[in-house]
């Protein structure tokens, strides 16, 4: 329970600060950053494994690692988006919402039965919809929030329906007891499909991805980053845990499903990303394509698969947050968010350009960045099923994705522009965040120990 308790304490601390005398944004931000840093450090020490409350809550070394990865992501968000945080009127509320959602994700990862699972899933989703509405004066932001809450509610409905069917078909809500009772009867398969669809909404797997681009574009960049990295990571972790442990008896059902959806997700994500002009929409579709790659790892149904997903998620946090961090810095200072505006960026912003290039190369999977290792290990895990046609399609999708990532690199380094974006003044903490991301992108791949460590806890 330690990670959840820590977050709860953080929540109360921020709440007290808010209802007490209040603080200026600058000071509050520093306090929150320090608290999150302490939270991250404490997350690594004195961890215990076990089961609580009669099986409702369980934890093990893997879950602790996953929570730590999410903690790291939240800390990076608090560092990277300082530009926007400082301008916000309700900074404390934003962090309270974000931490509530994070707590929901922690419970989600640790949940041991369907009720806890549903409850924590809601806690992890609803605050995010409120976060999407945080650019209060912008209409697109409200629109994003409405779309988010409606799809969220819809997918929750589907999930609840699936849960009740599953309970009806097996007679238990406990994850531990469920595998023995799964016989792949039609009712169980239907229940599973509903559950699957709910996850597909959360992970924006095609064809449940339609909300993604609008929400990503409209929401404040900090929220978008949270959605695309932290939230996606948490749901992917929970999803893989559920599939590999609870629904293992239905493996033959979900293997083909995952493979098919993986290919469709990748192709749709890639094709739509090709045409995007707005950088946030672009990153939204590229993140859909990335989910396709995560599904390749999930399809492996092996320890290697879950290791490579956790490993990829860690790398994805660094790479995607770096890209969003740069996009945010440019947007909040110059108001420019189109890819065309990035033309000639290198002339004025060397540091930011290199970070952006590094992040994009990592997302595209080009060595020596960590993304190369992340993607390759996902593909290798998926190839364990010896399905060459599938792996070939995945490999060719790497080429398509390179095309659109290079489009931005081309704009930044090669295209000429009379009036490139003026030199961006990064705050110290944003600079620190970007450097951490860049270090992560470079070193988390080259250091082979990291992968071995993740495998040892899986």
């Amino acid at each position: 329970m330690k990670p959840e308790l820590l977050i709860a304490i953080l929540l109360f601390l921020i709440l007290f600060i808010k209802i007490g005398k209040g603080m200026s944004n600058d000071r509050l931000l520093v306090v929150v950053q320090v608290l999150l840093f302490i939270n991250l450090i404490v997350g690594f020490i004195a961890n215990s494994e076990g089961i609580l409350f009669g099986g409702i809550y369980h934890t093990n070394a893997l879950i602790i690692l996953q929570k730590n990865i999410l903690n790291l992501g939240v800390l990076l968000i608090s560092l990277l988006f300082t530009d926007w945080f400082k301008k916000s009127d309700q900074l404390a509320e934003f962090f309270i919402l974000m931490l509530s959602a994070l707590m929901g994700m922690f419970f989600l990862l640790s949940s041991g039965n369907l009720l806890m699972f549903y409850l924590s899933l809601e806690l992890a989703s609803i605050p995010v919809a409120a976060m999407a509405n945080f650019d209060l004066q912008k209409r697109v932001s409200s629109e994003a929030a409405v779309k988010m809450i409606l799809t969220s509610a819809f997918s929750s409905g589907i999930l609840l329906f699936g849960i009740s069917l599953l309970y009806g078909a097996t007679g238990t809500i406990s994850f531990a007891a469920m595998p023995a009772l799964l016989t792949a009867s039609p009712l169980q398969i239907m229940a599973f499909i509903f559950l699957f669809a709910a996850f597909a909404f959360k992970l924006s797997i095609v064809p449940f991805h339609l909300w993604t681009a609008d929400v990503y574009e409209g929401a404040p960049t900090a929220t978008t980053a949270f959605l695309s990295v932290i939230s996606k990571g948490a749901f992917a972790f929970a999803f893989i845990d559920l599939l590999f442990k609870v629904f293992q008896p239905l493996h033959s059902v979900w293997y083909n499903l995952i493979m098919l959806l993986s290919v469709i997700t990748m192709i749709v994500g890639n094709l739509f990303a090709l045409r995007q002009q707005n950088i946030k929409r672009f990153l939204a579709f590229s993140s859909i394509a990335q989910v396709g790659f995560i599904l390749v790892g999930i399809s492996s149904n092996s320890i290697e698969g879950s290791t490579s997903v956790v490993y990829f998620m860690l790398i994805y946090i660094f790479s995607n947050l770096a890209a969003f961090g740069v996009a945010n810095a440019i947007e909040s200072q110059s108001g420019k968010a189109l890819i065309n505006d990035y033309k000639g960026l290198y002339q004025t912003n060397k540091f930011v350009s290199w970070i952006l290039a590094l992040a994009l190369f990592s997302l595209a999977g080009i060595p020596p960045t960590a993304g190369f290792f992340g993607k390759l290990f996902l593909i290798k895990a998926g190839a364990g099923q010896a399905n060459y046609a599938f792996i070939s399609i995945v490999a060719l999708n790497l080429v398509v994705s390179l095309f659109y990532y290079l489009k931005i690199v081309r704009a930044v380094f090669m295209d000429k522009n009379e009036q490139p974006v003026a030199t961006v003044q990064l705050t110290d903490s944003a600079k620190l965040g970007l450097i951490i991301c860049a270090a992560g992108i470079v070193f988390s791949g080259l250091i082979g120990w990291l992968y071995s460590y993740i495998q040892s806890v899986v």
Partner: protein, 492 residues
């Protein structure tokens, strides 16, 4: 000798270039590449000494470090004669490339950094004995090429950069699938090249994976019909970029076809050898005829590279020892020759500001050094005895002729015919550029500076060393080719 040095020196040089002041960047790059050249020559000497004392191990100076132990991926380096030939080629092209880029003004530090990074990828690739790191180094080289062409290039540079990056990435994707096939094809579940070579990969896996690997690497070395990036890429790149592309990068593909595809999957190689021969004969003839139509010096050399690299694949496809030795010699010879050709074109362009053959004439009168180099490189390209092109191509033809059936004979004869075409376009081009009346606008131009002279001399030394005494190179390469042939002949 520690092979890791050959990767760490370029890495250190690259970092130093980035940290240094703008004026010092080129000196640091030059020092680093000179050290690297000396090191590779020392490697060659000590390798020969080692062999002379009777050490017949397949790979020398092996070192292995467990990188991802749970996935059976290790950082495994080692060299045989073929690798050493390629490493020496790389070192010579790198130093020459840096010398001819002496006057680059735009983003100097980044330029030299990317050149060094590209060379690091090549060194690592030629020494890798693990498919995973081989692939890692292969892909490291893609982005520097993209940026070099896109930022410092000329003409349709963005189009060319994009086309090159995407086609090469496509090749890598094929290699990736083939590589995974080799990994999962045996019970060993390993990427280690030495281990994999000791077992037989199942024939059905080879039949799927060999064409993937060969075509994948083939994209890098202008296998027809994936050669289309070559003319655009080479002609848009800056001088050093073209030199690296043609001199080093295209050789990655040939080396991969030989070391990975043919060596690991001999059954697949036999199955598809005829197709390889047909495709490479097409590339040789098509490249030669396409060159005749070109007016731009860079395009001339780019298309002739397609033709010359066709010989490399032809040699591999012939599956005889002599032809394979010839293929490796052709890789080295073509690497040196084409790098020198691009260097000369760069020098001429810097002075005349044109690359169109028709707009030039009489350069021999004002720039005797450059024009002489142009003659040497042209004669080497058309295969004049005494220069490296003759030695390499002759070996391939002799090796090809060892196959006695009509199909191989016809392919060999067709390939030989291309030499006539080569003579036509080369003599016409260099004749127009160097001889005839001098154009009035070219009267004041200066001959080569010290850096250009040095670059040319280094590359010409290599060409002459192979051309006048080809035996040291063929002896160096032979043991490696023999091992590949042993794997092939077990099947007979």
């Amino acid at each position: 000798m520690n092979l890791l040095l050959l990767i760490l020196i370029p890495l250190a040089t690259g970092v130093a270039v980035l940290l240094a002041a703008k004026q010092q960047a080129k000196w640091i790059a030059l020092t680093g590449s000179a050290v690297q050249l000396l090191l590779s020559l020392a490697l060659f000497a000590s390798f020969n000494k080692e062999r002379a004392t009777g050490n017949t191990a397949q790979f020398l100076y092996e070192l292995q470090y467990n990188w991802f132990p749970s996935l059976n991926i290790s950082f495994h380096l080692g060299v045989d004669g073929i690798s050493i030939a390629m490493i020496m080629l790389t070192a010579m092209v790198v130093i020459a490339g840096i010398l001819v880029s002496w006057n680059i003004e735009k983003m100097t530090k980044e330029f030299f950094f990317l050149l060094i990074l590209l060379s690091m990828g090549a060194y690592g690739f030629f020494m890798s004995l693990d498919l995973f790191i081989l692939f890692f180094f292969l892909e490291i080289a893609v982005i520097p090429k993209f940026l070099l062409i896109g930022i410092w290039g000329s003409g349709k540079k963005e189009y060319a950069a994009n086309k090159l990056a995407l086609l090469l990435m496509f090749g890598s994707a094929l290699v990736l699938v083939g590589m995974l096939g080799a990994y999962f094809g045996t019970d060993l579940k390993t990427f280690d090249l030495v281990t994999l070579s000791k077992v037989n990969i199942p024939v059905n896996v080879q039949k799927i994976c060999f064409p993937l690997l060969f075509a994948g690497f083939g994209v890098f070395t202008a296998l027809f019909p994936f050669h289309t990036w070559v003319p655009d890429g080479h002609s848009s790149a800056p001088t050093a970029g073209s030199m690296f592309l043609a001199g080093i990068s295209m050789k990655l593909g040939g080396y991969g076809c030989l070391r990975v595809a043919t060596y690991l999957m001999p059954d697949g190689a036999k199955e598809y050898a005829d197709i390889i021969i047909v495709l490479s004969s097409i590339a040789i003839l098509y490249g030669a005829f396409a060159t005749m139509m070109q007016k731009d010096l860079k395009y001339i050399n780019a298309y002739s590279s397609v033709s010359h690299c066709g010989f490399v694949l032809l040699g591999i496809g012939m599956l005889t020892k002599t032809a394979i030795v010839g293929a490796v010699m052709q890789m080295v010879s073509h690497g040196l020759m084409t790098a020198l050709f691009f260097a000369v074109i760069g020098m001429i362009y810097e002075r005349t500001h044109t690359r169109q053959v028709d707009e030039m004439g009489g350069l021999l009168k004002v720039t005797p050094f450059i024009s002489t180099v142009l003659f040497i490189v042209g004669l080497c390209s058309l295969g004049l005895p005494g220069l490296s092109g003759f030695a390499a191509e002759m070996t391939i033809f002799v090796g090809s002729w060892q196959n006695t059936d009509a199909f191989h004979r016809i392919a060999t004869i067709a390939a030989c015919m291309s030499i006539v075409v080569t003579a036509v376009y080369i003599l016409r081009a260099i004749g127009k550029v160097a001889m005839g009346p001098l154009k009035a606008s070219f009267t004041g131009i200066k001959d080569a500076a010290w850096n250009e002279r040095l670059a040319a001399i280094i590359l010409i030394a290599g060409i002459l060393a192979i051309g006048l005494a080809p035996f040291w190179l063929s002896d160096l390469v032979k043991p490696g080719a023999e091992i590949i042939m042993q794997k092939l002949s077990i099947l007979k």
